[in-house]
Subunit: 287 residues, 2 copies
């Protein structure tokens, strides 16, 4: 029998804690595994980073949302602080290579340029880079990772807060199986669609939102595999897809789109209080 | 004195050769260096991969186009064939890790899943991964790279053509300083713009093309650094920005956009003949 205890599957511990500090947590080593854990019932929710305000979208997670059948049921934002970690005793001038996830590297690009003669190596995750330094006792290597990773892998922090922009936010999605009940307070919807190969096709598709004054909060394109230079559009909208306006807009979109799938309708992230935890959140501007 | 001899700066040798087989070539170790070589006059042209039909856009190169002042003056498409390379004598069942650029890994995802217990490591370039195996004599490591990389670094090809989709095309841009003369045969234009934070703003911006039946060939969004959840839009259009319709469309776009820059107007890639070299090219569909 499956264990249906409420559990959150995650790769980012800080994000899982932010969603629900008291919920049991299930650490995963890949985003694929987060999906798998929720699909098999090992966890009820999964947490996925989807976008960083500096590095941009984590496109692979959009691809995974499409490949799997989970729904988006919530979102949060976290302020990201990157640190330069190294083996205890290592000095910053002895560092010859820096490991991190491409997003971590992108978010500290200016800082990295200020370190002469360093080789930059992209890895699959920030914590994994820290672990490698610990496991292999690498003394000429640093990792860009969180303070928490320094604690867990017993590394020194050579330099704190090295991200290029202080307003460095990552938005995470909470995903669950579609059996989960609709959320009454939903005011944001994510859909993915394609359009026919005709001039003005995307413009017509967007008209169904624009002419109803529905905010378009984000638009991302991804290739359609096997159809070179044709695209899927992932769109975040300021609407509940179950209310009259939202359902009419999506119904009209089926007239202009070649394919359409609703990935979820959920409450948008809001600054609930002026407390430290959420002080860096930003309301989503429309585009 | 600067050497103004015509030279192409590149990271992908195959793409540089496709653009102009007889032109002198200047190999670069990063895309930054390609920009730098053209800006300093060490090369007249630079070649940049911008998009793969499976892995998607190389977003970092859009960011570089914005940071620098070079113009796009041409594009080509290349059929991509990935191979699994290893140290001579290594066997596929002994491989414990696979190195490649994230795009190379993404394009061979299904193949990688079929290799049990392998660790996948993202690196900065495919050829560099091959070089590392040669330099460090790594016998449990494979790289995803070209046949050419196998020749250069004297590695064995464990398996040929491992990409998940046979129609795996990469589109490359040719960049040059803006001094270069306008190209009369230009029928494609790339612009980057931002829109005000209002519902319907992107829809209005796209109207300047849709209402003139100008094909929108590609739309990509990137974060505006320092302004969380605001975006720049990179758009490829089927028009010459110097003819009457193109210049009117862009002039009207300034009414709706908060910022606008034309990155280049150039001849779109066309299948010139049925010869082998270009047999896999596809006409760009509109969206």
């Amino acid at each position: 029998m499956r264990d249906r205890k409420v559990r959150i599957a995650y790769q980012s511990e800080a994000a899982a804690e932010q969603f629900s500090p008291s919920t049991d947590r299930l650490p995963c080593t890949s985003f694929e595994e987060v999906f798998h854990s929720v699909e098999t019932g090992a966890a009820v929710f999964g947490v996925l980073p989807i976008e960083n305000s500096i590095g941009g979208t984590i496109h692979g997670n959009y691809d995974l949302l499409l490949e799997h059948t989970l729904s988006i049921v919530g979102e949060i934002q976290l302020q990201i602080v990157h640190n330069l970690l190294a083996y205890p005793g290592a000095k910053i001038e002895e560092i010859r290579q820096v490991y991190s996830h491409p997003q971590g590297l992108a978010q500290c690009e200016r800082f990295l340029r200020s370190m002469p003669d360093r080789k930059v190596v992209a890895t699959y995750d920030t914590a994994g880079s820290a672990k490698m330094i610990r496991d292999q006792k690498l003394k000429d290597t640093a990792a860009i990772a969180s303070e928490r990773a320094a604690e867990v892998f017993d590394l020194s922090i050579l330099k704190k807060s090295i991200q290029d922009f202080s307003h460095n936010l990552t938005r995470f999605l909470l995903v669950a199986t579609s059996e989960t009940e609709p959320i009454a307070t939903a005011d944001k919807t994510t859909v993915v669609f394609s359009v026919p190969n005709k001039a003005g096709a995307l413009f017509k598709a967007l008209s169904v939102f624009a002419l109803r004054d529905i905010d378009l909060l984000k638009l991302e394109s991804r290739p359609i595999r096997g159809k070179p230079w044709e695209y899927l559009f992932y769109v975040d909208l300021g609407m509940n897809c179950n209310d009259i306006m939202g359902s009419r807009a999506l119904s009209q979109l089926t007239e202009f789109a070649s394919s359409l799938r609703t990935l979820g309708t959920y409450p948008s992230w809001k600054e609930l209080s002026s407390e430290t935890k959420q002080k860096d959140s930003q309301p989503s501007p429309s585009i």
